[in-house]
Symmetry: C2
Subunit: 151 residues, 2 copies
Amino acid sequence: MSTCKNHKISIDEALKKAEIICNKKGVKLTKLRQKVLTLILKNHGYVKAYDLLNDLKKNDASAKPPTVYRSLDFLMEHGFIHKIQSLNAFVGCSHPDEHEDCYFLICKECKNIEECCSNTVKKVLTSTSGKNNFSPNQVTLEITGICQDCS
Amino acid sequence: MSTCKNHKISIDEALKKAEIICNKKGVKLTKLRQKVLTLILKNHGYVKAYDLLNDLKKNDASAKPPTVYRSLDFLMEHGFIHKIQSLNAFVGCSHPDEHEDCYFLICKECKNIEECCSNTVKKVLTSTSGKNNFSPNQVTLEITGICQDCS
DNA sequence: AACTATTATGTTATATTATAACATTCATTT
DNA sequence: AAATGAATGTTATAATATAACATAATAGTT
Ligand SMILES: [Zn+2]
Ligand SMILES: [Zn+2]
Ligand SMILES: [Zn+2]
Ligand SMILES: [Zn+2]
């Protein structure tokens, strides 16, 4: 694990941003959801659901799988975190409210995950889908490899 | 489920092709592996591991999770099937031995999965990764939406 | 053929990931 | 305060996947 690239935004800033977005949407960033989001953001790489659960249990022994999965669902639904399908893991979103069609660069060495957006990628995917007469809805794009710091 | 697009190649042809590739590589397409591959190819959409297990049990009551997961591992390793990460499911490869950096168009209506290759997509992904100084190794690209037949 | 090494399969057990279903609590509105 | 709906608590279980060790089949080697 090398230097921290993902923490351009501090956890506090990210929480405030999330709070604002929730207010706009009329949904609630409850204490529990804040806690889960914080635990995810604290991690520079990805986090597994049951690791989160164990973290939660440190403060509240009664935490159980639904406790964490419900928060994860909420946080995903509103774009504060993303699920990495190829790892069954979760990462904080580096830019909620802005993003659309992001993709992930996953370093298998340091486990860091870089969230990226690219209009070029988006266009190519849309046009390729179009050639297949396919109307895309949701794109899962996860690229595993070696990051700069680890090469 | 609409017309069958994936069966441009018959199951028999696919099995023969797999056999040839295995011979070239000096690995064995055992009865069990053939059986599992056949079960996957019979399905036009995707298949779940435990559904496969149930299918296997019809002929051999002693089949157990490792029975199917080992075969799946073998078939994936040699490119005869692919895992769809966003579904925890498996599909037959429409063109083993040729492909590299394929992606999948997953219709959420008819559950059909179209495997595609595109040099354009590949190039864009490589170059975008490059801009991030990232050396890609393995790409997971799964596009969910509505296929032509279902739109 | 007997021996050996390797690969594949069988078997038992368990780990990991995720959801269903119902009860209770909390916040908001009336 | 009562009613409503949202969130959380709780119990149970479903779904996905692997570890570890035992046995069997296969392919070379003597
Ligand atoms: Zn994001
Ligand atoms: Zn790295
Ligand atoms: Zn393929
Ligand atoms: Zn369809």
